[in-house]
Symmetry: D2
Subunit: 338 residues, 4 copies
């Protein structure tokens, strides 16, 4: 950490800051500029993080120079993490596609979706059994029955299942059915839930919060990993900005940014990211070209009958086109769809 | 809801949309403009909300004309809600001030804080026993012991206690100690938690999420109320924007906006809203002038020793000045500090 | 400036950075932390600002510790600037209110507006003769004729005139009629225009850009001052965020922030800031309570007939109520309306 | 336009709104829902746009259903616009790359840059002669001399020249040297400048404003086109959001969105869009995969000596790699680099 003193900080104020550092077991490295004094703080990261020096007289601001996370960083692990989900790999040279309806609506709808996405080449079936919804009066999901339909779809198609877990109570139940646990955007900083999935042995797909910086997102992954579960994949799904033509603003720069900071694989969800089915196809191509390890896409046998998010769901035909193009783009960046 | 058709939508596409509405038991009111057709949808709100017409051919967009919440709105209840917390009122002609440290750090720190804020005229003691933190390695709170210190502070000062509940598991425990349950910004859309506090008989302080629209915030309050707990106060604490001089952007317009839409009382937290103790005093005055029912302010006996948020905490002296000014501003808008 | 090196920067990379600094006439102050090296840069501000060290191998990021502006800062001038506009003061103990229609629409409308705002106590008449509009097909203002109506209104009422100048070409013309030149939000970084008004002897009202940080806004004021015109007042008018209930998000924290960094007076425009006439009254009170030196408010004899911004304009009656409350709030913070 | 009345609007209020419409020559199409009345407005777009009905009693809000632009839309022109710049085409099946230094710094630097980008396959040389800078004390460009160096580079390499024009005064001068005029992000709503370039016969590259919606951006293009200049290419260069890891958030969804709404070609600038040279390569690939017609990239012979934006400039080697990958991705989406 660097402490920037006010331009008119007194010698006494500077001394008090240095004393505080020394008393806390840290080292101060003082640098007197032409207009102000700057103090470099050297020592234990955790102690530094808790230091309330900005409340001291004469201090203008502090600047962090190290991140608070460890396990998610390239400093901790150089090589890319590859997650094995029952034989399907996420990360590395493979592209992973997770597709299916926004919500599990019925046995028929789910099985039909499963066969469609399997036929087009997806490895994972997605579908929400528990649905967090803005309004308490909106459809909240089939819950346990939805999980059973997902399990049946897996049996019938061999697809892996990824589905959302919305609270600590249901972690065990969802884990009994799913191959991978999804943490939704609204729960990205539900720290109790992160710790709970961190104590399971199930791979986790961690969606980025609507207003989460990359740094906060990586810290959320750190919560999971700090409990012992290292199988975390990140999922970029759009951030909230002033632009309202799209539902969210899909931040594809975050893909390359995450790749340079972290060893964790990263998936892109262009369906939630744009909110418009017409944009899903070009943004799927863009995501893979930009270095993503895979895609999460909403596909519905009949989007105009979907109980939620119909307007951002692809028809089977359009999904099939996406898969073909993704394979071609993947080849350019050295990745392939199995 | 209004359905706006594409400029080149065909008669058949328009007919299919109308048929879909009719088949779902809704009425369609068609209006042919000079360049495009618009369809007004009349019928049950809930059925309309679930309608995926945007996925239908020829549809450009849909526009909601009614909100999804009911109980929080002025249409449901005209007069202002006044919450009684053991004799202290929130809302109406009274100004309520909740003050204290960000986190409960020790028995001494808390009791000292309690005496300070009591002396200056606050009615509530705030202080986190469970602390949601961006990094898993930051101080996470004293948990149950923190609650015990809060209860002791209440006994010694008569102050009411408001403290955060971070998961469903601890709702019962926190309820056993606190007079009012706080839902933090990160949990504003933790719907399981909202429903859980909605099933208690404790008043709830619902902080606005970092990226929550006013509409989403009111829907979150609706989650609590729909479970039977009508004692909900809202708390504006800043939204996330591009401006980085302040920690967040305190959205004071939301106060008057909420007052016009909803009957619920609203509190402003200028400490988190600005992140800088120097801005807390002017923004406290501004909040009350703008119509807020009270304030939540971080006060610490010695901000430079605080374990969290020291830079946004007031000293006892500054807090006392705030209280004096707030009383004067309150008088102008017809409210008083007891 | 501080240069933060990568965790695995080599000694040679560090040496190259230091050499570059030394060769440019700057001093390097090296500080080796436990995990990375930090280099403090000491020397001429302007030279430092142009230094492209972030492109050098081994450099992670740079952090500015001094601002690029000078004349606008409290370091340059401690005491508050008070601008005298033909006897009316902006800043200091006086509250200044600028009111009138969004656009000058006709001689009758303007004169009527002028008498209304004069009667209620405003010192300035506002009204756009040149109107920047999102669409080329919207009403663009009466231009020169509008200026003549403004001048006539001044003669008849004694009000000062503040009106927008939209390009370098019309600076001389507008200056011939107006008492104060307004730079609109869209032109806050139209640097040629800033320099042009900086070469006049007319006071300038500089509106904050829709997406401008406080730092960029102050730098825009610096452009004007660096040309010799020190009579600059800032005007907060809302920033663009995700919230869409209001037209913009009025950032009242910026008032106190600007007051602590700069000596320039600051005015608040709650009409554009909120876009809703119902919010103008509470936000006017809040602005004054938060330390603003005055207000700019849209008032129209009949808002439902306004050619632009009718929905955010006050009726004469509501404006009169605002003036009464503003006077009362002003008294609490030691300011008065003349 | 649709007018949504308040839930408790009176019959008289509804009548007054309808009368206003009728008196203005518009038609009202009234639709009474279960809880509120909605009025569809039919008639002349321009008259509707200026209607201040939101200021009328009983009106809750209005909703636009048609956009204010005409010439930029697909409704006006179905097929893609292809701009011919002295034999080089922008749009259609060709990919256009504009590359070079942020600022023209010297004759040597520019000529060296020109040879580098020519060799790698770019068709345009970019380079600012007039530089809009946040601080008045930063390097502002070589101005006329910079233009002369650009013209010399064109002569020596055959590259087309695109350079920024920052005010109405210099439009003629810049036009005398450049093949294409660039409007920078800060000037996207400098309407006088837009109209001035609209009256030239030079193709225009219109950068998106930092906080501009797609709708506002298209309206800015409409300003240029409405003066008679139909050769407008759009340039996405990142929007301002809360994320601060990148300089801006490159909004690639805007590419596909613009393609579906408008016939104009669109270029992506990943250098300003990300602010980090390491992200330029993956985001260049992503832009082309997402449907962009070309790229604008900062390349500098020695980024660590650049007078501005060194940290986002590519070295000649990295630029060459980008060009190779772009050609491969282009092939997948049916486009080629000449």
């Amino acid at each position: 950490m660097i402490i920037v003193m006010n331009q008119n900080a007194t010698q006494e104020e500077i001394k008090k800051v240095i004393d505080k550092l020394t008393n806390t077991g840290l080292k101060a490295h003082v640098s007197e500029g032409s207009t102000r004094t700057i103090i470099g703080v050297i020592g234990d990261k955790k102690v530094i993080a808790e230091l309330p020096v900005e409340a001291m007289a004469g201090v203008e601001k502090t600047v962090s120079v190290t991140e608070s996370y460890k396990l998610v960083g390239r400093d901790f692990k150089q090589e890319d993490t590859i997650i094995d989900v029952g034989g399907v790999q996420i990360g590395g040279r493979q592209l992973t596609v997770m597709a299916g309806p926004c919500a599990v609506e019925s046995r028929e709808q789910l099985l039909e979706s499963a066969h469609i996405v399997k036929a087009a080449g997806a490895q994972f079936l997605r579908g929400g059994a528990y649905k967090p919804r803005t309004s308490p009066y909106a459809f909240q999901g089939l819950e346990k029955q939805g999980l059973e339909f997902l399990a049946e779809a897996r049996e019938k198609t061999g697809l892996k299942i990824v589905t959302e877990v919305v609270d600590v109570e249901s972690v065990a139940t969802v884990s009994a059915y799913a191959d991978m646990l999804q943490i939704g955007a609204r729960n990205m900083q539900n720290f109790q839930l992160l710790k709970a999935v961190g104590r399971t042995n199930k791979p986790v797909l961690l969606k980025r919060g609507l207003a989460a910086t990359i740094n906060e997102w990586l810290n959320a992954a750190e919560y999971i990993m700090s409990e012992g579960n290292y199988n975390v994949a990140l999922c970029e799904r759009g951030i909230r900005t002033f632009e309202d033509y799209t539902r969210n603003t899909l931040d594809l720069s975050a893909v390359a940014a995450v790749k340079s900071i972290s060893h964790l694989p990263i998936i892109v969800d262009p369906s939630h990211g744009t909110g418009k089915w017409k944009l899903v196809r070009p943004m799927s191509r863009a995501a893979i070209a930009g270095g993503a390890d895979g895609l999460m896409i909403e596909v519905h046998p009949d989007p105009s009958r979907a109980l939620s998010d119909g307007k951002q769901s692809l028809t089977p035909e359009n999904f099939s086109l996406v898969m073909q193009e993704v394979a071609q783009i993947g080849a350019v960046v050295g990745k392939s769809l199995l």
